[in-house]
Protein backbone atom coordinates (compact mmCIF):
# COMPACT_ATOMS: atom_id res chain seq x y z
CA UNK A 1 0.00 0.00 0.00
CA UNK A 2 2.95 2.33 -0.64
CA UNK A 3 1.81 5.90 -1.17
CA UNK A 4 -1.61 5.46 0.49
CA UNK A 5 -1.24 8.30 3.02
CA UNK A 6 -0.02 10.81 0.42
CA UNK A 7 -2.69 9.78 -2.07
CA UNK A 8 -5.41 9.98 0.59
CA UNK A 9 -4.32 13.51 1.56
CA UNK A 10 -4.41 14.46 -2.11
CA UNK A 11 -7.87 12.90 -2.54
CA UNK A 12 -9.27 14.75 0.48
CA UNK A 13 -7.76 18.04 -0.72
CA UNK A 14 -9.29 17.35 -4.12
CA UNK A 15 -12.73 16.67 -2.58
CA UNK A 16 -12.48 20.05 -0.85
CA UNK A 17 -10.87 22.13 -3.59
CA UNK A 18 -13.14 20.88 -6.37
CA UNK A 19 -16.09 21.77 -4.09
CA UNK A 20 -17.36 18.19 -3.93
CA UNK A 21 -17.11 18.00 -0.15
CA UNK A 22 -18.66 21.43 0.54
CA UNK A 23 -21.52 20.78 -1.91
CA UNK A 24 -22.23 17.33 -0.45
CA UNK A 25 -22.09 18.80 3.07
CA UNK A 26 -24.58 21.55 2.18
CA UNK A 27 -27.00 19.18 0.39
CA UNK A 28 -26.95 16.60 3.18
CA UNK A 29 -27.29 19.29 5.86
CA UNK A 30 -30.29 20.71 4.00
CA UNK A 31 -31.84 17.24 3.70
CA UNK A 32 -31.29 16.70 7.43
CA UNK A 33 -32.81 20.06 8.27
CA UNK A 34 -35.83 19.58 6.02
CA UNK A 35 -36.69 16.11 7.35
CA UNK A 36 -38.28 17.15 10.68
CA UNK A 37 -39.65 20.35 9.09
CA UNK A 38 -41.42 18.36 6.39
CA UNK A 39 -42.81 15.95 8.99
CA UNK A 40 -44.03 18.81 11.17
CA UNK A 41 -45.63 21.02 8.57
CA UNK A 42 -46.89 18.57 5.93
CA UNK A 43 -50.26 18.18 7.75
CA UNK A 44 -50.63 21.98 7.86
CA UNK A 45 -49.85 22.25 4.17
CA UNK A 46 -52.28 19.43 3.34
CA UNK A 47 -55.02 21.19 5.36
CA UNK A 48 -54.39 24.49 3.58
CA UNK A 49 -54.41 22.78 0.18
CA UNK A 50 -57.76 21.11 0.99
CA UNK A 51 -59.70 24.42 0.78
CA UNK A 52 -63.22 23.91 2.18
CA UNK A 53 -62.76 20.13 2.57
CA UNK A 54 -62.22 18.66 6.01
CA UNK A 55 -59.07 16.51 5.92
CA UNK A 56 -58.10 14.54 8.99
CA UNK A 57 -54.35 14.14 9.29
CA UNK A 58 -52.75 12.33 12.22
CA UNK A 59 -50.69 14.54 14.54
CA UNK A 60 -47.07 14.31 13.40
CA UNK A 61 -44.54 12.66 15.73
CA UNK A 62 -40.77 12.27 16.06
CA UNK A 63 -41.24 8.95 14.22
CA UNK A 64 -42.43 10.86 11.15
CA UNK A 65 -39.30 13.05 11.29
CA UNK A 66 -37.13 9.91 11.48
CA UNK A 67 -39.04 8.35 8.56
CA UNK A 68 -38.46 11.46 6.48
CA UNK A 69 -34.74 11.49 7.36
CA UNK A 70 -34.31 7.80 6.51
CA UNK A 71 -36.27 8.24 3.28
CA UNK A 72 -33.96 11.06 2.23
CA UNK A 73 -30.86 9.04 3.14
CA UNK A 74 -32.20 5.93 1.42
CA UNK A 75 -33.50 7.52 -1.77
CA UNK A 76 -31.64 10.76 -2.48
CA UNK A 77 -28.23 10.13 -0.92
CA UNK A 78 -27.49 7.06 -3.12
CA UNK A 79 -27.85 9.25 -6.22
CA UNK A 80 -25.28 11.64 -4.80
CA UNK A 81 -23.06 8.64 -4.03
CA UNK A 82 -23.39 7.46 -7.65
CA UNK A 83 -22.48 10.92 -8.97
CA UNK A 84 -19.42 11.01 -6.73
CA UNK A 85 -18.22 7.44 -7.34
CA UNK A 86 -18.81 7.09 -11.08
CA UNK A 87 -15.76 9.10 -12.09
CA UNK A 88 -13.37 8.04 -9.33
CA UNK A 89 -11.28 5.71 -11.48
CA UNK A 90 -12.82 6.03 -14.96
CA UNK A 91 -12.35 9.80 -15.12
CA UNK A 92 -8.70 9.57 -14.09
CA UNK A 93 -8.03 6.92 -16.71
CA UNK A 94 -9.93 8.93 -19.30
CA UNK A 95 -8.01 12.13 -18.58
CA UNK A 96 -4.60 10.47 -18.25
CA UNK A 97 -4.00 11.49 -14.64
CA UNK A 98 -4.07 7.81 -13.62
CA UNK A 99 -1.01 7.20 -15.79
CA UNK A 100 0.65 10.25 -14.25
CA UNK A 101 0.24 8.81 -10.74
CA UNK A 102 0.73 5.13 -11.54
CA UNK A 103 4.17 5.70 -13.08
CA UNK A 104 5.27 6.90 -9.63
CA UNK A 105 6.23 4.51 -6.81
CA UNK A 106 2.69 3.85 -5.58
CA UNK A 107 0.78 0.60 -5.62
CA UNK A 108 -2.52 0.17 -7.39
CA UNK A 109 -4.29 -0.99 -4.19
CA UNK A 110 -3.12 2.28 -2.56
CA UNK A 111 -4.49 4.25 -5.52
CA UNK A 112 -7.91 2.59 -5.19
CA UNK A 113 -8.01 2.58 -1.39
CA UNK A 114 -7.23 6.30 -1.16
CA UNK A 115 -10.08 7.06 -3.52
CA UNK A 116 -12.58 4.88 -1.70
CA UNK A 117 -11.63 6.17 1.75
CA UNK A 118 -11.97 9.76 0.52
CA UNK A 119 -15.40 8.85 -0.86
CA UNK A 120 -16.32 7.34 2.51
CA UNK A 121 -15.13 10.48 4.30
CA UNK A 122 -17.13 12.79 2.01
CA UNK A 123 -20.33 10.77 2.31
CA UNK A 124 -19.65 10.22 6.03
CA UNK A 125 -19.38 13.98 6.61
CA UNK A 126 -22.64 14.39 4.68
CA UNK A 127 -24.52 11.80 6.75
CA UNK A 128 -23.03 13.22 9.96
CA UNK A 129 -24.23 16.74 9.15
CA UNK A 130 -27.64 15.48 8.02
CA UNK A 131 -27.92 13.45 11.23
CA UNK A 132 -26.95 16.40 13.43
CA UNK A 133 -29.48 18.65 11.70
CA UNK A 134 -32.28 16.09 11.98
CA UNK A 135 -31.44 15.20 15.57
CA UNK A 136 -31.49 18.77 16.84
CA UNK A 137 -34.46 19.95 14.79
CA UNK A 138 -36.46 16.89 15.85
CA UNK A 139 -35.64 17.76 19.46
CA UNK A 140 -36.88 21.33 18.89
CA UNK A 141 -40.07 20.42 16.99
CA UNK A 142 -40.97 17.08 18.60
CA UNK A 143 -38.93 15.34 21.26
CA UNK A 144 -35.35 14.30 21.91
CA UNK A 145 -34.43 11.01 20.22
CA UNK A 146 -32.10 8.49 21.94
CA UNK A 147 -28.61 9.64 20.90
CA UNK A 148 -27.00 6.19 20.77
CA UNK A 149 -29.82 4.66 18.76
CA UNK A 150 -30.01 7.59 16.36
CA UNK A 151 -26.24 7.47 15.83
CA UNK A 152 -26.41 3.74 15.08
CA UNK A 153 -29.30 4.39 12.69
CA UNK A 154 -27.30 7.07 10.84
CA UNK A 155 -24.30 4.71 10.66
CA UNK A 156 -26.53 2.04 9.09
CA UNK A 157 -27.77 4.64 6.58
CA UNK A 158 -24.17 5.40 5.70
CA UNK A 159 -23.49 1.69 5.19
CA UNK A 160 -26.48 1.44 2.85
CA UNK A 161 -25.23 4.47 0.87
CA UNK A 162 -21.72 2.99 0.73
CA UNK A 163 -23.07 -0.21 -0.86
CA UNK A 164 -24.30 1.85 -3.82
CA UNK A 165 -21.06 3.86 -3.79
CA UNK A 166 -18.93 0.67 -3.78
CA UNK A 167 -20.87 -0.91 -6.65
CA UNK A 168 -20.52 2.29 -8.69
CA UNK A 169 -16.82 2.45 -7.75
CA UNK A 170 -16.41 -1.12 -9.06
CA UNK A 171 -18.13 -0.09 -12.29
CA UNK A 172 -15.79 2.89 -12.51
CA UNK A 173 -12.78 0.53 -12.57
CA UNK A 174 -14.39 -1.72 -15.17
CA UNK A 175 -15.51 0.78 -17.81
CA UNK A 176 -13.61 3.46 -19.66
CA UNK A 177 -15.70 6.52 -18.87
CA UNK A 178 -17.76 7.96 -16.05
CA UNK A 179 -21.21 7.94 -17.59
CA UNK A 180 -21.51 4.18 -18.17
CA UNK A 181 -20.14 3.66 -14.66
CA UNK A 182 -22.92 5.88 -13.31
CA UNK A 183 -25.46 3.94 -15.37
CA UNK A 184 -24.24 0.64 -13.93
CA UNK A 185 -24.34 2.11 -10.41
CA UNK A 186 -27.91 3.29 -10.96
CA UNK A 187 -28.94 -0.10 -12.37
CA UNK A 188 -27.38 -1.82 -9.35
CA UNK A 189 -29.27 0.52 -6.99
CA UNK A 190 -32.57 -0.11 -8.78
CA UNK A 191 -31.88 -3.86 -8.92
CA UNK A 192 -31.30 -3.97 -5.17
CA UNK A 193 -34.48 -1.93 -4.68
CA UNK A 194 -36.44 -4.58 -6.58
CA UNK A 195 -34.80 -7.36 -4.54
CA UNK A 196 -35.68 -5.46 -1.35
CA UNK A 197 -39.37 -6.11 -2.05
CA UNK A 198 -38.87 -9.89 -2.05
CA UNK A 199 -40.10 -11.46 1.16
CA UNK A 200 -37.03 -13.37 2.39
CA UNK A 201 -34.16 -11.71 0.58
CA UNK A 202 -35.36 -8.14 0.93
CA UNK A 203 -34.04 -7.50 4.42
CA UNK A 204 -30.48 -8.23 3.28
CA UNK A 205 -30.41 -5.37 0.78
CA UNK A 206 -29.39 -1.76 1.61
CA UNK A 207 -33.06 -0.73 1.28
CA UNK A 208 -33.97 -3.60 3.62
CA UNK A 209 -31.99 -1.88 6.38
CA UNK A 210 -34.69 0.82 6.57
CA UNK A 211 -36.76 -0.99 9.21
CA UNK A 212 -33.87 -1.64 11.64
CA UNK A 213 -32.66 1.92 11.04
CA UNK A 214 -36.05 3.27 12.11
CA UNK A 215 -36.25 1.02 15.14
CA UNK A 216 -32.78 2.03 16.31
CA UNK A 217 -33.45 5.74 15.83
CA UNK A 218 -36.59 5.52 17.98
CA UNK A 219 -34.78 3.58 20.69
CA UNK A 220 -36.41 0.27 19.91
CA UNK A 221 -34.51 -3.00 19.53
CA UNK A 222 -33.45 -4.13 16.09
CA UNK A 223 -33.51 -7.91 16.34
CA UNK A 224 -32.04 -9.89 13.47
CA UNK A 225 -29.87 -7.02 12.33
CA UNK A 226 -26.60 -8.95 12.32
CA UNK A 227 -27.28 -10.92 9.11
CA UNK A 228 -28.31 -7.93 6.95
CA UNK A 229 -25.45 -5.88 8.45
CA UNK A 230 -22.88 -8.49 7.51
CA UNK A 231 -24.34 -9.00 4.03
CA UNK A 232 -24.19 -5.25 3.30
CA UNK A 233 -20.65 -5.02 4.66
CA UNK A 234 -19.75 -8.00 2.48
CA UNK A 235 -21.26 -6.27 -0.57
CA UNK A 236 -18.91 -3.33 0.03
CA UNK A 237 -15.86 -5.53 0.63
CA UNK A 238 -16.55 -7.81 -2.35
CA UNK A 239 -17.05 -4.78 -4.62
CA UNK A 240 -13.69 -3.40 -3.53
CA UNK A 241 -11.89 -6.72 -3.95
CA UNK A 242 -13.37 -7.10 -7.45
CA UNK A 243 -12.33 -3.51 -8.25
CA UNK A 244 -8.78 -4.35 -7.18
CA UNK A 245 -8.73 -7.61 -9.19
CA UNK A 246 -9.96 -5.72 -12.26
CA UNK A 247 -7.56 -2.81 -11.82
CA UNK A 248 -4.35 -4.57 -10.82
CA UNK A 249 -3.45 -5.74 -14.34
CA UNK A 250 -5.43 -3.16 -16.26
CA UNK A 251 -3.71 -1.24 -19.04
CA UNK A 252 -3.67 2.46 -18.23
CA UNK A 253 -3.89 5.03 -21.00
CA UNK A 254 -1.81 8.16 -20.95
Amino acid sequence: MQGFGILLRKELREQWRTSRLPVVAIIFFALGLLSPLTAKYTPEIVKLAGGGLTITVPTPTAGDAVDQFLKNMGQLAPFIAILLAMGEVARERERGTAAFVLTKPVTRPAFLAAKFVALLVTLGVGVLLAGIATYFYTAVLFETLPLGGFTASAALSLLAIMVTAALTFLASTLVRSSLPAGGIGLAAFLGLAIVSSLPRLGRFTPQGLLQPERALALGQGAAGLLGPLLVNLALVVVSLVLAWLAFRRQEVEG
Partner: protein, 319 residues
Protein backbone atom coordinates in the same frame (compact mmCIF):
# COMPACT_ATOMS: atom_id res chain seq x y z
CA UNK B 1 28.67 1.59 -18.11
CA UNK B 2 26.00 -0.92 -19.16
CA UNK B 3 22.77 -0.45 -20.98
CA UNK B 4 19.98 1.58 -19.42
CA UNK B 5 17.29 -0.04 -21.55
CA UNK B 6 17.28 -3.52 -23.05
CA UNK B 7 14.39 -4.97 -25.08
CA UNK B 8 14.50 -8.56 -26.32
CA UNK B 9 11.92 -9.80 -28.80
CA UNK B 10 9.28 -7.46 -27.42
CA UNK B 11 5.84 -8.19 -28.86
CA UNK B 12 2.64 -6.36 -28.04
CA UNK B 13 -0.64 -7.31 -29.64
CA UNK B 14 -3.95 -5.47 -29.30
CA UNK B 15 -6.35 -8.15 -30.47
CA UNK B 16 -5.46 -8.68 -34.13
CA UNK B 17 -3.36 -5.53 -34.31
CA UNK B 18 0.37 -5.94 -33.77
CA UNK B 19 1.75 -2.90 -31.95
CA UNK B 20 5.28 -4.24 -31.49
CA UNK B 21 6.63 -7.09 -33.58
CA UNK B 22 9.72 -8.52 -31.88
CA UNK B 23 11.51 -5.32 -30.95
CA UNK B 24 15.18 -5.71 -30.02
CA UNK B 25 16.77 -2.57 -28.65
CA UNK B 26 19.53 -1.39 -26.34
CA UNK B 27 20.07 2.11 -25.01
CA UNK B 28 23.47 2.83 -23.47
CA UNK B 29 23.50 4.43 -20.03
CA UNK B 30 23.96 8.18 -20.09
CA UNK B 31 22.85 8.72 -23.66
CA UNK B 32 20.16 11.02 -24.98
CA UNK B 33 18.38 8.53 -27.14
CA UNK B 34 16.06 9.53 -29.95
CA UNK B 35 13.40 6.93 -30.68
CA UNK B 36 12.12 7.70 -34.14
CA UNK B 37 9.31 6.37 -36.20
CA UNK B 38 6.34 7.42 -38.26
CA UNK B 39 2.94 7.74 -36.57
CA UNK B 40 1.68 4.33 -35.49
CA UNK B 41 5.13 2.73 -35.62
CA UNK B 42 4.96 1.59 -31.98
CA UNK B 43 6.85 4.38 -30.21
CA UNK B 44 4.25 5.13 -27.54
CA UNK B 45 3.56 1.42 -27.02
CA UNK B 46 7.28 0.88 -26.37
CA UNK B 47 7.42 3.74 -23.87
CA UNK B 48 4.29 2.49 -22.10
CA UNK B 49 5.80 -1.00 -21.87
CA UNK B 50 9.08 0.32 -20.51
CA UNK B 51 7.31 2.39 -17.86
CA UNK B 52 5.10 -0.49 -16.72
CA UNK B 53 1.80 1.04 -17.89
CA UNK B 54 1.19 -2.00 -20.06
CA UNK B 55 2.61 -5.52 -20.31
CA UNK B 56 4.24 -7.23 -23.26
CA UNK B 57 2.45 -10.10 -24.98
CA UNK B 58 5.80 -11.88 -25.24
CA UNK B 59 9.46 -10.92 -24.94
CA UNK B 60 11.24 -9.12 -22.15
CA UNK B 61 12.55 -5.68 -21.30
CA UNK B 62 14.61 -4.17 -18.53
CA UNK B 63 15.25 -0.60 -17.50
CA UNK B 64 18.18 0.32 -15.24
CA UNK B 65 18.77 -3.43 -14.86
CA UNK B 66 15.23 -4.07 -13.58
CA UNK B 67 12.67 -6.22 -15.36
CA UNK B 68 9.75 -4.01 -16.39
CA UNK B 69 7.11 -6.64 -15.63
CA UNK B 70 8.26 -7.91 -12.25
CA UNK B 71 10.09 -4.95 -10.69
CA UNK B 72 7.11 -2.64 -10.12
CA UNK B 73 7.86 -0.16 -7.35
CA UNK B 74 11.66 -0.56 -7.51
CA UNK B 75 11.56 0.30 -11.19
CA UNK B 76 9.26 3.30 -10.75
CA UNK B 77 11.53 4.71 -8.05
CA UNK B 78 14.34 4.97 -10.61
CA UNK B 79 12.58 6.15 -13.74
CA UNK B 80 10.35 9.03 -14.73
CA UNK B 81 7.84 9.48 -17.48
CA UNK B 82 6.38 12.39 -19.37
CA UNK B 83 3.36 11.52 -21.52
CA UNK B 84 2.79 12.94 -24.98
CA UNK B 85 -0.01 15.15 -23.70
CA UNK B 86 0.59 15.27 -19.97
CA UNK B 87 -2.47 15.63 -17.79
CA UNK B 88 -2.26 16.86 -14.24
CA UNK B 89 -4.73 17.81 -11.53
CA UNK B 90 -5.90 21.23 -12.70
CA UNK B 91 -6.97 22.28 -9.22
CA UNK B 92 -3.41 21.99 -7.88
CA UNK B 93 -0.90 24.82 -8.01
CA UNK B 94 2.41 24.21 -9.78
CA UNK B 95 4.47 24.00 -6.60
CA UNK B 96 1.82 21.86 -4.91
CA UNK B 97 1.89 19.34 -7.77
CA UNK B 98 5.67 19.03 -7.64
CA UNK B 99 5.55 18.65 -3.85
CA UNK B 100 2.93 15.90 -4.25
CA UNK B 101 5.14 14.06 -6.76
CA UNK B 102 8.21 14.50 -4.54
CA UNK B 103 6.30 13.01 -1.61
CA UNK B 104 5.33 10.01 -3.73
CA UNK B 105 9.06 9.47 -4.25
CA UNK B 106 9.58 9.55 -0.47
CA UNK B 107 11.05 13.05 -0.28
CA UNK B 108 10.13 15.20 2.71
CA UNK B 109 10.75 18.52 4.46
CA UNK B 110 13.52 20.94 3.56
CA UNK B 111 15.12 18.57 1.04
CA UNK B 112 11.83 18.34 -0.86
CA UNK B 113 11.27 22.11 -0.78
CA UNK B 114 14.80 22.71 -2.06
CA UNK B 115 14.36 20.17 -4.86
CA UNK B 116 11.01 21.68 -5.88
CA UNK B 117 12.64 25.13 -6.06
CA UNK B 118 15.47 23.65 -8.10
CA UNK B 119 13.27 22.02 -10.76
CA UNK B 120 11.00 25.07 -10.91
CA UNK B 121 14.08 27.15 -11.65
CA UNK B 122 15.43 24.60 -14.13
CA UNK B 123 12.18 24.57 -16.11
CA UNK B 124 11.56 28.31 -15.85
CA UNK B 125 8.37 27.95 -13.83
CA UNK B 126 9.37 29.72 -10.62
CA UNK B 127 7.10 32.69 -11.27
CA UNK B 128 4.12 30.51 -12.17
CA UNK B 129 4.59 28.14 -9.23
CA UNK B 130 1.72 29.65 -7.26
CA UNK B 131 -0.75 29.49 -10.18
CA UNK B 132 -3.32 26.75 -10.70
CA UNK B 133 -2.11 24.13 -13.18
CA UNK B 134 -5.50 24.29 -14.94
CA UNK B 135 -4.59 27.80 -16.12
CA UNK B 136 -1.18 26.86 -17.58
CA UNK B 137 -0.55 27.18 -21.33
CA UNK B 138 0.49 24.13 -23.37
CA UNK B 139 4.16 25.07 -23.12
CA UNK B 140 3.98 25.64 -19.37
CA UNK B 141 2.19 22.33 -18.93
CA UNK B 142 4.96 20.58 -20.85
CA UNK B 143 7.61 22.29 -18.72
CA UNK B 144 5.70 21.28 -15.61
CA UNK B 145 5.64 17.73 -16.98
CA UNK B 146 9.38 17.83 -17.34
CA UNK B 147 9.76 19.33 -13.85
CA UNK B 148 7.72 16.53 -12.25
CA UNK B 149 9.69 13.96 -14.23
CA UNK B 150 12.98 15.37 -12.97
CA UNK B 151 12.09 15.71 -9.31
CA UNK B 152 13.38 12.27 -8.29
CA UNK B 153 16.64 12.65 -10.24
CA UNK B 154 15.71 9.60 -12.35
CA UNK B 155 18.26 7.20 -13.79
CA UNK B 156 16.17 6.91 -16.93
CA UNK B 157 13.77 9.55 -18.16
CA UNK B 158 11.11 8.55 -20.71
CA UNK B 159 9.72 11.38 -22.81
CA UNK B 160 6.95 10.54 -25.25
CA UNK B 161 6.87 13.12 -28.04
CA UNK B 162 7.83 15.86 -25.57
CA UNK B 163 7.69 18.75 -28.03
CA UNK B 164 5.30 17.65 -30.76
CA UNK B 165 2.45 19.89 -29.59
CA UNK B 166 4.55 23.00 -28.95
CA UNK B 167 5.28 26.10 -30.98
CA UNK B 168 8.91 26.71 -32.08
CA UNK B 169 9.72 28.81 -28.98
CA UNK B 170 8.27 26.15 -26.67
CA UNK B 171 10.17 23.42 -28.52
CA UNK B 172 13.39 25.35 -28.18
CA UNK B 173 12.90 25.76 -24.42
CA UNK B 174 12.10 22.10 -23.77
CA UNK B 175 14.91 20.81 -25.99
CA UNK B 176 17.39 23.05 -24.17
CA UNK B 177 16.33 21.55 -20.86
CA UNK B 178 16.65 18.04 -22.30
CA UNK B 179 20.09 18.83 -23.69
CA UNK B 180 21.16 20.01 -20.22
CA UNK B 181 20.36 16.55 -18.85
CA UNK B 182 23.31 15.05 -20.72
CA UNK B 183 25.60 13.20 -18.26
CA UNK B 184 22.93 13.39 -15.52
CA UNK B 185 20.45 10.80 -16.75
CA UNK B 186 19.65 8.52 -19.66
CA UNK B 187 16.96 10.18 -21.73
CA UNK B 188 14.74 8.03 -23.93
CA UNK B 189 12.86 10.42 -26.19
CA UNK B 190 10.30 9.20 -28.68
CA UNK B 191 9.56 11.62 -31.47
CA UNK B 192 8.82 11.95 -35.15
CA UNK B 193 10.49 15.37 -35.41
CA UNK B 194 13.91 14.59 -36.84
CA UNK B 195 15.34 18.06 -36.47
CA UNK B 196 14.89 17.73 -32.70
CA UNK B 197 16.77 14.45 -32.65
CA UNK B 198 19.60 15.93 -34.67
CA UNK B 199 19.77 18.80 -32.22
CA UNK B 200 19.89 16.99 -28.87
CA UNK B 201 20.33 13.24 -29.31
CA UNK B 202 23.62 11.41 -29.48
CA UNK B 203 22.06 8.05 -30.35
CA UNK B 204 19.05 7.18 -32.42
CA UNK B 205 16.89 4.20 -33.28
CA UNK B 206 14.33 4.08 -36.05
CA UNK B 207 11.29 1.87 -35.63
CA UNK B 208 8.68 1.07 -38.22
CA UNK B 209 5.61 -1.18 -37.92
CA UNK B 210 6.78 -2.37 -34.52
CA UNK B 211 10.24 -3.48 -35.64
CA UNK B 212 13.65 -1.90 -35.29
CA UNK B 213 14.95 -0.61 -38.59
CA UNK B 214 18.29 0.75 -37.40
CA UNK B 215 20.01 1.80 -34.17
CA UNK B 216 23.20 3.80 -34.09
CA UNK B 217 24.83 7.05 -33.06
CA UNK B 218 23.53 10.01 -35.01
CA UNK B 219 27.00 10.64 -36.47
CA UNK B 220 27.50 7.00 -37.51
CA UNK B 221 24.11 6.93 -39.12
CA UNK B 222 24.83 10.03 -41.13
CA UNK B 223 28.21 8.63 -42.19
CA UNK B 224 26.83 5.22 -43.00
CA UNK B 225 24.23 6.74 -45.26
CA UNK B 226 26.50 9.53 -46.43
CA UNK B 227 25.44 9.39 -50.04
CA UNK B 228 25.36 12.93 -51.34
CA UNK B 229 22.07 14.65 -51.66
CA UNK B 230 21.17 17.05 -54.46
CA UNK B 231 18.72 19.83 -53.73
CA UNK B 232 16.86 21.36 -56.64
CA UNK B 233 14.62 24.35 -56.07
CA UNK B 234 12.67 25.22 -59.23
CA UNK B 235 11.39 28.74 -59.81
CA UNK B 236 7.70 29.01 -58.97
CA UNK B 237 4.91 28.38 -61.51
CA UNK B 238 6.38 25.37 -63.36
CA UNK B 239 4.19 22.55 -62.12
CA UNK B 240 4.04 20.70 -65.44
CA UNK B 241 7.77 20.98 -66.06
CA UNK B 242 8.60 19.91 -62.50
CA UNK B 243 6.31 16.88 -62.88
CA UNK B 244 8.17 15.96 -66.08
CA UNK B 245 11.51 16.39 -64.33
CA UNK B 246 10.37 14.23 -61.42
CA UNK B 247 9.31 11.48 -63.81
CA UNK B 248 12.65 11.66 -65.62
CA UNK B 249 14.62 11.54 -62.35
CA UNK B 250 12.62 8.58 -61.06
CA UNK B 251 13.58 6.64 -64.17
CA UNK B 252 17.32 7.04 -63.54
CA UNK B 253 19.17 4.01 -62.13
CA UNK B 254 21.45 6.23 -60.01
CA UNK B 255 18.58 7.77 -58.03
CA UNK B 256 18.30 6.02 -54.64
CA UNK B 257 15.42 8.16 -53.45
CA UNK B 258 13.52 11.22 -54.50
CA UNK B 259 11.35 13.43 -52.33
CA UNK B 260 9.62 16.73 -52.91
CA UNK B 261 9.14 18.94 -49.91
CA UNK B 262 8.20 22.64 -49.79
CA UNK B 263 9.00 23.22 -53.42
CA UNK B 264 12.42 21.55 -53.15
CA UNK B 265 13.31 18.25 -54.82
CA UNK B 266 15.72 16.16 -52.73
CA UNK B 267 17.60 13.56 -54.74
CA UNK B 268 19.73 10.97 -52.95
CA UNK B 269 22.10 9.38 -55.40
CA UNK B 270 23.46 5.83 -55.27
CA UNK B 271 26.11 6.79 -57.87
CA UNK B 272 27.09 10.38 -57.06
CA UNK B 273 29.28 10.88 -60.14
CA UNK B 274 26.51 9.82 -62.50
CA UNK B 275 24.07 12.03 -60.64
CA UNK B 276 26.37 15.05 -60.77
CA UNK B 277 26.70 14.63 -64.50
CA UNK B 278 23.10 13.64 -65.20
CA UNK B 279 20.85 15.92 -63.18
CA UNK B 280 21.36 19.24 -64.92
CA UNK B 281 20.82 17.85 -68.47
CA UNK B 282 17.52 16.40 -67.23
CA UNK B 283 16.58 19.80 -65.78
CA UNK B 284 17.28 21.43 -69.12
CA UNK B 285 15.45 18.73 -71.05
CA UNK B 286 12.39 19.24 -68.84
CA UNK B 287 12.45 23.00 -69.38
CA UNK B 288 12.76 23.74 -65.69
CA UNK B 289 14.55 26.87 -64.48
CA UNK B 290 16.17 26.60 -61.06
CA UNK B 291 16.40 29.13 -58.23
CA UNK B 292 18.87 26.84 -56.43
CA UNK B 293 20.95 23.74 -57.13
CA UNK B 294 22.99 22.40 -54.26
CA UNK B 295 24.97 19.29 -53.35
CA UNK B 296 25.09 18.40 -49.67
CA UNK B 297 25.04 15.69 -46.98
CA UNK B 298 21.77 13.93 -46.21
CA UNK B 299 19.93 15.07 -43.12
CA UNK B 300 18.54 12.62 -40.60
CA UNK B 301 15.19 13.21 -42.24
CA UNK B 302 16.53 11.98 -45.59
CA UNK B 303 17.97 8.88 -43.94
CA UNK B 304 14.75 8.29 -42.03
CA UNK B 305 12.60 8.52 -45.12
CA UNK B 306 14.90 6.21 -46.99
CA UNK B 307 15.09 3.59 -44.23
CA UNK B 308 11.38 3.63 -43.53
CA UNK B 309 10.73 3.43 -47.24
CA UNK B 310 13.07 0.44 -47.55
CA UNK B 311 11.43 -1.30 -44.60
CA UNK B 312 8.04 -0.79 -46.17
CA UNK B 313 9.29 -2.09 -49.50
CA UNK B 314 10.82 -5.19 -47.87
CA UNK B 315 7.54 -5.87 -46.07
CA UNK B 316 5.56 -5.56 -49.30
CA UNK B 317 8.02 -7.85 -51.08
CA UNK B 318 7.76 -10.43 -48.30
CA UNK B 319 3.97 -10.29 -48.44
Amino acid sequence: MGDAVVCRGLVKRFGDVVGLDGLDLTVPTGSIFGFLGPNGAGKTTTVRLLTGLTRPTTGSASVAGLDVVTSGLRLRERVSYLAQQPEFYGWMRGRELLTFVGELFGMRGAALRARVDEVLEQTGLSEAAHRRVGGYSGGMRQRLGLAQALINRPDVLFLDEPVSSLDPAGRHEILSIIADLRDHATVFMSTHILADVERVCDRVAIIDRGRLVVSSTVVDLQERYAQPIFLLEPDPGQAAQVAALTARLEAQPWVASLAGDGGVLRVIASRPADAAAGILPLVVASGVTLARFERGRPSLEDIFLRLVGEAEHAKTEAA
